[in-house]
Symmetry: C2
Subunit: 108 residues, 2 copies
């Protein structure tokens, strides 16, 4: 129905991942499932993993590997201080853009 969200997700998906991680230390596969459950049904693992690697390189997250009884070992991600700061900045930006968009939409 609302065919392709890809472009609109640019710049917000990373924030979503940060938010999800901030709630609970978690791992890529699970994050993908949560995003899908949220409604972003077309988001695939490849996308999430590239985001996670980016977050790791930017040193916004700490990682630990833990065994799983359901498959291969899981790489858990947790926000560090820089990550929490980035998350706050993200919501600030979202609030700004989102308010401006609604302003534009409602104005007549």
């Amino acid at each position: 129905m609302l065919d392709n969200l890809t472009e609109m997700l640019k710049g917000v998906l990373e924030g979503c991942v940060l938010e999800i991680i901030s709630r609970n230390e978690t791992y890529g596969y699970e994050i993908t499932r949560q995003l899908n459950a949220l409604g972003f049904a077309d988001v695939v693992e490849g996308t999430v993993y590239t985001i996670l690697i980016r977050l790791e390189k930017s040193q916004l997250v700490d990682t630990t590997k833990k065994p799983s009884d359901m498959g291969p070992p899981r790489k858990f991600f947790a926000l560090n201080d820089a990550g929490r700061e980035e998350l706050q900045k993200f919501w600030g930006k979202w609030e700004f853009v989102s308010s401006k968009m609604n302003e534009l939409k409602e104005r007549n």
Copy 2:
């Protein structure tokens, strides 16, 4: 303060331009000014012109050139039926993403 909105504007800026055009037949330079006034202060003409050319190629707008007494002739843009449909789709997508984002943000 909220340093770089670039990535978050991807996918929404085109919709903003569509919305602005839908209100009044207008031209690139003026659209840029309106976006700046809205709060998207860093959006520059080059960005808007590429969007306008894209809209033209996608046949979402009709164009007419009109002389100006303030400078070079202006290229006016107006939405056609396809453009109006696209605009509606855009707001549908925005509504969806935006609601999901707020759901994610508020949930605790």
